[in-house]
Symmetry: C2
Subunit: 534 residues, 2 copies
């Protein structure tokens, strides 16, 4: 068995089959071909689970040359310090697997013309059709591993780089009532994801699902497959990820569902994801997002796509396009804010996970034992009624009819109880699920910012040590201030959305709960009315 | 270890620690001193439990002379065929144990002046204060074992006896719309059991609970201890038990409860039992019952009590006082009715037990996991709210206040859910519990009637065999017809009460359920109102 050494602490996310490992630990490799940037390992106490490839270093020769190659490349990527974006495309890899693994997908997920452009990860089929559903980490890693997965992200490239001249794509930040805010568009972008259709190609041998995306600007539907959403996600993550947390796309595979339900669920979540992107003033106005929503034809789409993929203002360089109107910020205040955000994100993440856990348990009870119990109560009443019918006693009918009706009412209540979570808890869970993803994606943004403030704090020492010049120190401080403006604008955007979203979802939940209890009350009143007045 | 042979099949009542045994089976005796007419045994497959003393015959010499004496007496009683009432008092036994076991009771349960009168079973202390709570079988057995506990009750004594001249205490039966009915009094008797008080005697060394019983005829409270209710039960069972099923008194001991709760519960059940007795036209008008409700003073009570205990018109002789207005019934019709009643009682007993089981499970869920879950939902909302408070973002208050309020609402709902069974399910369960007891007490009444109809069917054969004369056969048929009138009157009484009771309890249950759901709805509406209008 091949072994591996843990490079960085990794904390497993509960319920995801992950394994918590600590730096220096030696692991046995169980399965290197899990895909999605994960490796299945066993620790010394026998615990098994998945860890990100980037977090470990393989010690002995793995099973196949292909996976060795792949793993080593990525591990070495993971070990590199952050050094700017744009160097992690390996067209060769994509060409390789595309021919070999294309048939594994439930639906054909060929990457078509995207094939040679890279940035797709190395197992597109598994991503779409496999059961792992682990695209998040892969994408994050491939795109951001230069800084996100190293223990201390190093923002030097932006802080000290000679930046290109400012282009026309400026991202202005204003001082609003709540502090720095992005410039919000007068006409907010919105879109509907609808009408999933099964398409097929290669004479029906391969099939896929295509969704209609209808933006409010044109009201003209464009067709996109999940893969295209994924491509958009990659582009947004690459371009804006350092400044704006881009939440992962919905899980690629929800296991154990009917195909129809699965498609509906995915569509609902793609809709949610698109809505969130639409609501972001920077993202919704970006060229690549607009392309996705409004391309005219295949040619238009391909041209735009290639242009987006060639964009060099990606990664931390995004900060060079930010235009804050206010003067430099106090570094101490900046650090405090950053600390506050970090704590808030962590605390909210805990709160959201807690709510999700509680909701999950409640969901199970409401769809499992509870309705069965109401059903049994209903049956017991009806059963008693049918015994009473046999009494042969006069004047039995009013009671037996009423008792049967009451029994049926409790059977109806049983059904209502079982159906209810889909009506109210579902939306509450979906929103919190979305926020869980969103909060998770904040980590890198905040960590990068923190690394920048630390660099600034070390500025004088570095000047003394001759590592940087005084003008460089000043530039660093200025640029960190810009990063801070950006982070604050983003946090304010987050808070305002959060308040809106939670206000909405709680109202919706309570409204549906009220409707539920009102309906039960009405049903019981009707049942009561059937009994003889005493 | 002493062993015993099973004389008659005995089917354990679930949840009562009883053991099902079959005729001829050999048992090992574990504990002969359980009391209440029960013996703890182990069967050949290792199963342990209680069986009635009367059902088994001890094979070897038991542990103590006292218990040998007792057991043998009772076993031999059980073996006797039914031969009329009035021969089963053994004052000696009562004198014996009263001095020895008096201190075992939680409250002093001395039998005072009842001591020498017998008919109290041989372990009064255990019955009142012990944990067995098994008075039912004991009393039934002591009083009715001449016919009830033998496999085929033999009603010959009434059917063929030379009856005393008809007295003034006639029990008329009329033909009503529903068939034979008892004569119902114009002014129904009712009473309230209230105000339990702890009394004490022997300078406070011994204490007991005394209840006030206030009948509607006099509105003058009389005091009674549980023991006195028990005495009344015994008298009613002895006098009317062959014709009228007398439900057992509430369990003597409800284990694991606080003293206050226990007293309240017992009072509630004594009230229920008294109400049922009051509602019976024959019982409520009987001398012994009237004595219990309206005695003037200690002397009055003692005189009445002694008179009641000397009453010879007990057991099956009660049928000799019944005056049906209609002619003799068709024996085939009688048999069919009897069969119908028997089936109905059995089916209703199953239905009631089913409802009790379902209700018990529901009770546990409502007071256990369900409120905990609502509490967790409430906590999760409040927790999220307290995270939101730390955001430092403007305009957070409306949401956090509303979210906290919603969380508190779910905590309140949790409390409501946990409290609700006491408010609605309790009454439904109590009523069914009472009916379970009532249905159980029907068995002997019906079995006795069945035995009589079988005797009539065998009439011709018995005449031919020279066992009875033709006039005796005619008398038997006439008297069985009277028994049948009585049974029908009783069944009609039962049905009419059952319809009233179930109508009432279901209405009450539904009303409380409606109130419960309405309250939740109101609370949720208030919580909803706190969120900002979007």
């Amino acid at each position: 068995m091949a072994t591996a050494q843990v490079m960085y602490d990794f904390t497993a996310e509960p319920g995801n089959n992950e394994l918590t490992v600590r730096e220096g630990e030696i692991l046995t490799i169980i399965n290197q071909k899990v895909g999605g940037g994960w490796i299945e390992v066993q620790n010394s106490s026998g615990g098994c689970g998945l860890v990100p490839e980037d977090y470990i270093e393989i010690c002995t020769k793995p099973h196949s040359p292909e996976s060795t190659n792949k793993t080593n490349t990525q591990v070495s990527n993971g070990n590199n310090a952050w050094s700017g974006g744009g160097t992690y495309n390996n067209p060769m890899e994509h060409t390789q697997h595309n021919t070999a693994e294309d048939d594994d997908g439930e639906w054909d997920e060929e990457w078509d013309d995207f094939r040679a452009t890279g940035n797709q990860g190395d197992t597109p089929v598994e991503e779409e059709g496999g059961a792992t559903g682990r695209n998040t980490h892969l994408h994050r890693k491939l795109t951001l591993n230069k800084f996100a997965f190293s223990k201390a992200p190093n923002p030097e490239v932006y802080l000290l780089a000679k930046l290109p001249p400012k282009g026309i794509d400026r991202l202005p930040i204003y001082m609003g009532d709540v502090g720095p805010v992005w410039l919000y568009p007068e006409a907010p972008v919105d879109c509907v994801v609808a009408d999933p259709k099964k398409g097929s190609k290669m004479y029906g041998l391969k099939s896929y699902i295509e969704y209609q995306v209808i933006p409010n600007m044109t009201n003209r539907p464009v067709n996109h497959r999940y893969k295209h959403f994924d491509w958009l996600y990659e582009r947004l993550l690459e371009k804006f990820g350092c400044a704006i947390p881009i939440p992962s796309l919905p899980d690629k595979q929800v296991t154990g569902r009917f195909e129809e339900e699965f498609i509906k669920m995915r569509m609902e979540r793609l809709q949610g994801w698109m809505c969130r992107m639409c609501r972001h003033p920077v993202i919704s106005k970006s060229e690549v997002f607009q392309l996705f929503l409004t391309y005219n034809d295949e040619k238009d789409w391909k041209t735009g796509k290639r242009k987006a993929e060639k964009d060099e203002c990606v990664g931390p360089l995004i900060f060079s396009t930010i235009d804050p109107e206010s003067p430099e910020l106090d570094p101490i205040e900046v650090e405090q804010k950053c600390e506050l955000y970090s704590k808030f994100i962590k605390a909210m993440d805990d709160g959201v996970k807690d709510l999700l856990n509680v909701g999950n348990v409640h969901w199970k009870r409401c769809t499992g034992p509870l309705p069965k119990e109401y059903q049994k109560i209903g049956k017991a009443f009806q059963n008693l009624s049918s015994v009473f019918v046999t009494s042969g006693y006069q004047g039995e009918t009013t009671l037996t009819d009423a008792l049967t009706a009451a029994g049926k009412t409790y059977e109806e209540i049983a059904e209502m109880v079982a159906e209810q979570p889909r009506k109210d808890l579902h939306f509450l869970m979906e929103t919190n699920h979305e926020y869980k993803g969103l909060l998770g994606s904040f980590h890198d943004t905040i960590a990068l910012h923190k690394a920048a403030t630390e660099k600034v704090r070390e500025g004088d020492r570095m000047v003394l040590a001759g590592k940087i010049t005084t003008p460089e120190k000043v530039t660093m401080a200025k640029r960190t201030s810009i990063m801070s403006y950006s982070l604050q604008a983003e946090m304010n955007h987050f808070h305002s959305n959060r308040i809106y979203d939670y206000n909405r979802v709680m109202q919706y939940y309570l409204e549906e709960q009220i409707r539920f209890y009102e309906t039960i009350t009405e049903k019981l009143k009707i049942a009561l009315g059937q009994f003889a007045t005493l």
